[in-house]
């Protein structure tokens, strides 16, 4: 599968999450290479690490406001830190699920993990170039970042 196809798998996972769980579609912006500086990290980030045929990290990072409104759309009334982490972790779970389905056994995919804080540094190999896929929903903006060698 080409890198473009691999990115499509992750984009499809995020869009499907908005369509199905949040019941309101998100819009994908124009992807770009993050050259010169690390991609922006928002308040909550759910990520998976990949090894095997390719190595790297894929993560969905979103601001607290966006995740809170997503929870509201899902009829959740508790906007606690734990539930915001849960939500971004569930998005990462779908990234992992789609990758396992589409990429097969050549890819080893970690259990999703969650980090909080916009000052977080996401570690990735210097021989990779992160591709940032903007995800817009209502008035909010999140990023899907695919960073594979």
């Amino acid at each position: 599968m080409s890198l473009q196809g691999e990115i499509g798998t992750f984009v499809a996972a995020v869009l499907n999450y908005f369509d199905t769980a949040v019941q309101q579609p998100a819009v994908v912006g124009t992807p770009y290479l993050a050259l010169g500086k690390a991609p922006e990290v928002f308040d909550y980030t759910g990520m998976i690490r990949i090894s095997g045929k390719r190595k790297g990290v894929v993560y969905f990072t979103a601001p607290k406001g966006m995740l809170s409104v997503m929870l509201m759309r899902m009829q959740e009334t508790d906007m606690s830190d734990a539930n915001l982490r849960d939500l971004v972790g569930e998005v990462a779970n779908t990234l992992s699920g789609n990758a396992r389905r589409d990429f097969g056994r050549n890819f080893i995919i970690s259990t999703p993990s969650v980090v909080a804080g916009s000052s977080t540094t996401i570690g990735y190999s210097p021989d990779t170039r992160p591709i940032v896929v903007p995800i817009d929903w209502r008035a909010y903006h999140a990023n899907l970042v695919v960073c594979l060698n």
């Binding site: 499907n16 999450y17 199905t20 769980a21 019941q23 929870l71 899902m74 009829q75 959740e76 508790d78 734990a82 539930n83 849960d86 939500l87 972790g89 569930e90 779970n93 779908t94 992992s96 699920g97 789609n98 396992r100 389905r101 259990t111 999703p112």
Partner: protein, 125 residues
């Protein structure tokens, strides 16, 4: 008139929002929710206390994962019906869960309708 709640459902998922979503979404009159567990080990303890007839089971969980929990629950009660609800959408994972004794598989994310349809199928199976 209230329908007789003849099916006892235990929800197992490490995500609080997923447990609550399943709890809120299921609207089958014959189903009573008897417990919520955050991992496989908690589910086994809760099973002792609540004797569920139906289970929704996540797969990737700390302490004890869903596959092992399915195997142990079916070992205790061969008639228990388990719906695996997981983001792991590959065929191999679904087949493994079914081989261990699960009765159905639903991919995350899901709609309320998809959940209720899957639970009805589970009850009728």
């Amino acid at each position: 008139m209230n329908a007789v709640r003849q099916h006892r459902l235990m929800i197992v998922d490490d995500s609080n929002i997923m447990r609550r979503k399943i709890e809120r979404s299921q609207d089958i009159p014959q189903v009573e929710i008897v417990g919520l567990a955050g991992n496989g080990r908690e589910a086994l303890e809760l099973h002792e206390q609540t004797r569920p007839t139906l289970v929704t089971m996540d797969l990737t969980m700390p302490e004890m994962d869903g596959i092992e929990c399915v195997e142990q629950l079916v070992g205790r009660d061969p008639d228990i019906r388990i719906l695996v609800i997981s983001a792991l959408a590959d065929k191999a994972t679904a087949i493994e869960a079914l081989e261990k004794g699960a009765s159905g598989f639903l991919c995350k994310p899901f709609t309320e309708r998809q959940l209720n349809d899957a639970l009805v199928k589970l009850i009728e199976s």
